[in-house]
Symmetry: C2
Amino acid sequence: MPKQGYHHGNLRQALIDAALELIEVRGPTGFTLSEAAKQAGVTPAAVYRHFEGREDLIAEAALQGYVIFADLMDAAYNSGQPSALKAFEATSRAYLAFARANPGHYIAMFESGISVNRTPDLAAAANRANNVLEQAAGDLSQHIPAEKRPPASMFSAHIWALSHGVVELFARNSPGRASPFPADELLESGIGIYLRGLGLVDPDG
Amino acid sequence: MPKQGYHHGNLRQALIDAALELIEVRGPTGFTLSEAAKQAGVTPAAVYRHFEGREDLIAEAALQGYVIFADLMDAAYNSGQPSALKAFEATSRAYLAFARANPGHYIAMFESGISVNRTPDLAAAANRANNVLEQAAGDLSQHIPAEKRPPASMFSAHIWALSHGVVELFARNSPGRASPFPADELLESGIGIYLRGLGLVDPDG
DNA sequence: TGTACATCAGTGAACGCGCGTTCACTGATGTAC
DNA sequence: TGTACATCAGTGAACGCGCGTTCACTGATGTAC
């Protein structure tokens, strides 16, 4: 239970939460440190007790995002085991679900311009998420004859790009850009066709 | 030939060009009207002779982008005729080529937060580009048996999303995110697999 | 061709604003005895 | 349990800055006669 009064109790996390909300609403660069402080009920100067500055606050928000993201992907992967196909499909669904449920995190991670190599922590968290997807793709590609099997990293890059594109163009309400189909349906069907192209699902499915 | 001296001659376009350069370098929100004016060799106040303000300048840059984009897509589509497959593949390649050659335009169009419905001109230009891709997808899908044929708009949304994802994640040097493969190779192979999944190209290709 | 004048694209100074960051400070908390 | 004191998370005032926008103006351009 957070303490009250002069000392905030958990200002650090409150600032991150405020930042996430503002990033979601105002966009990655519309976000201001001062406003985040205000929203947390605190003077802008107080932020400097917990972060080195504006960039550091955003980076921390992104880091928490990557951790949640990697955990989600990992859980999804495991939930589909031992079927390589089910595991793979679950991770794809987890990608979209994460972007939906955590738009602030998603923006901080992918649109804020924060380098993933800013800190070792951040790079590690980002890598962990990437590795889950690559693992899922690798498992699945074992079912393709070795001589016509694309590298797992290419496979996973395709899926990542398709997922990211669906999120950016059709899942967030891009100003003025109407989605022709629900994002999850679009992603699911796209991946289905792609997997058929790899010979991994029934052509008459 | 532009005039010289007190009167600039073609300040309007010079401002748009400066904006495009700055948007490319500084990002969609890092761009400032004052800096664009400075780069065009003019006082910030002069901008208001040609645009209503900052937003209007960005919107104009986006509009020019959509026009170029639609023209490119259209030319690519025609270049592949009468083969539906060639026309389709050419439009996909044109997408990536445009993003590569016109990063400022691309950002103004897709990442600046400018609504595509801001003006009728803008909406029309955006629609024209979209229609080319949808047309190409529609032509191609005629080769799929009608009962297992996805709607052309879904088909084109898949390709658009994949292209956009490749551009965002792997074509621009996303800070700290190394591309596992060249972007064009990634897009080409991804689309190849997708088309195979639709039964539109030789499974042993 | 030369002059008078209207047009209008630019200037430059000023504005109010919110930003990120710094600093000396203060007052609440927690610990030692 | 009570008191003295160290710690440290917050305050609030101040800073310099660049922003977008406005305004009255000026001087170059182009046209009418």
